[in-house]
Symmetry: C2
Subunit: 304 residues, 2 copies
Amino acid sequence: MQFSIQILGCGSALPTSLRGSSSQVVNVHSKPLLLDCGEGTQLRLRQHKIRMQQIQHVFISHLHGDHFFGLVGLLSSLHLLGRKKPLNIHAPKALKKIIEDQFEVSGTILQYEVNFISLNMGKLDLLIDEENYQVYSFPLEHTVPTWGFLFKEKPFRPKLKKSFINKQRPNIEAITKIINGGDFVNEKGEVFKHKNITTPPRNSVSYAYCSDTKYTESIIEYIEGVDVLYHEASFGNDLKKQAALRAHSTAEQAAIIAEKANVAQLVLGHFSARYKDVSPLLDEAKAIFPNTIAAEDGLKLQLS
Amino acid sequence: MQFSIQILGCGSALPTSLRGSSSQVVNVHSKPLLLDCGEGTQLRLRQHKIRMQQIQHVFISHLHGDHFFGLVGLLSSLHLLGRKKPLNIHAPKALKKIIEDQFEVSGTILQYEVNFISLNMGKLDLLIDEENYQVYSFPLEHTVPTWGFLFKEKPFRPKLKKSFINKQRPNIEAITKIINGGDFVNEKGEVFKHKNITTPPRNSVSYAYCSDTKYTESIIEYIEGVDVLYHEASFGNDLKKQAALRAHSTAEQAAIIAEKANVAQLVLGHFSARYKDVSPLLDEAKAIFPNTIAAEDGLKLQLS
């Protein structure tokens, strides 16, 4: 239960009662991270009983309204609910003024600090480096500057078997050597092989969020081998031209990226409101990349 | 079915799943008018099957977020849904830049005209003068400049009885005279009394919206005798001091205003999120002004 994703909204520009505007929560080691914040996100956080005040980082992919119109309301509610802890917002530079102007005009002075951290164009950029995980941004290709985000657990170390500890009582120095892959030699000169005295660590997991973007192979280097890739699939093959015109992707294109990037699972999302049933899009993607699912509002994926 | 009100959200600053941010639709002679536009209003319009593209006028009472954070999303969706008709927004002056900046940063150029009409401080101000109704703004007293709105049907004229028309065949000139209160004299010199040849008109109705405001008798002159008064009641008597501190009203104060203004019915709303059950507030108001009801999201009131 250390790494999960919950989709709060997987609609595109036009929110409907079926699918809300873009928003997700990535839970990494009990820390909820908010990913985009379309209109109504605060209500969906409440609905799914996500502890809003625990959120320390918000990531905004780009400044199309369906990805940020809910942020000012969320910030306001955190304030009204008594927040004192700072909040970090990783977002395109222009968002700071947009938010601050709205509070200024309403005469609101937030009782907590909001740190706006501007996203940098260019390559993979390390945004957060915590004990157990890291978060990176990387460039997507859309009609306005847009970023994807990569969430990666750090590699885990093996654990020493209890029976070994109880019998051999290794000191700190020896323990450090073992968890870094070494063997153990006791005072009698007996050698204990690393693999016999440890439990292998679980694999660390990773998640990449790519919304909104046209089909571009330039992102493959950033998302290669992730456990779960959320890739926008605004349209089906019926509207491939429209996808290209609007710098969006089709479900099939998302699947081609997933295949080329050798990810474990693909989640399609950011569906155009015209698709009430997205199973045709899912079929188009599965024909290329079988381990694909379609996002829906409320869906929770447990990665570890 | 010519004048109705539908509450879309009757919560205060903190929206919850029980009560959304402030928003209402006033339907006057098949014209939906939108009154405040808190976050999530566009979804509630869809939910209640209100034809969004028919809205020609939006009224924003003041620039606290729970009354306008949903406007930019609504404007965006109207655009995406193909609107071409202009939209008039009657609002405090500063709103124009707030909205325009958000569209600029997202690279959005609306395909329809938005006319921002600044509300004027001072007394009763006529905003709309249509064939059958008028809309006025008037000042409330809150922590930022805030306006109430008054919706009034114009007086109706009596209708000529069919039997009279068929027998006497009055010409246009005679008809005009009769519907303005006159009698009819035919070629033989016979006099037909006005009251005998007409059906009396239905009473014209009126609605006043007062949210947000502290208790102030200054508004009585504007709302006197309305059929329905929506008055904020953010708090109960348990938090009377808090109401005063924040320039809000208690339910009892709303009832005192209703009583003094001699209105027919009072609707309490804009409830603080702390009151899951507002029946204590309703009781406090009813003790002063019995014909009081509590708003709830989705409630529809038919005035005529």
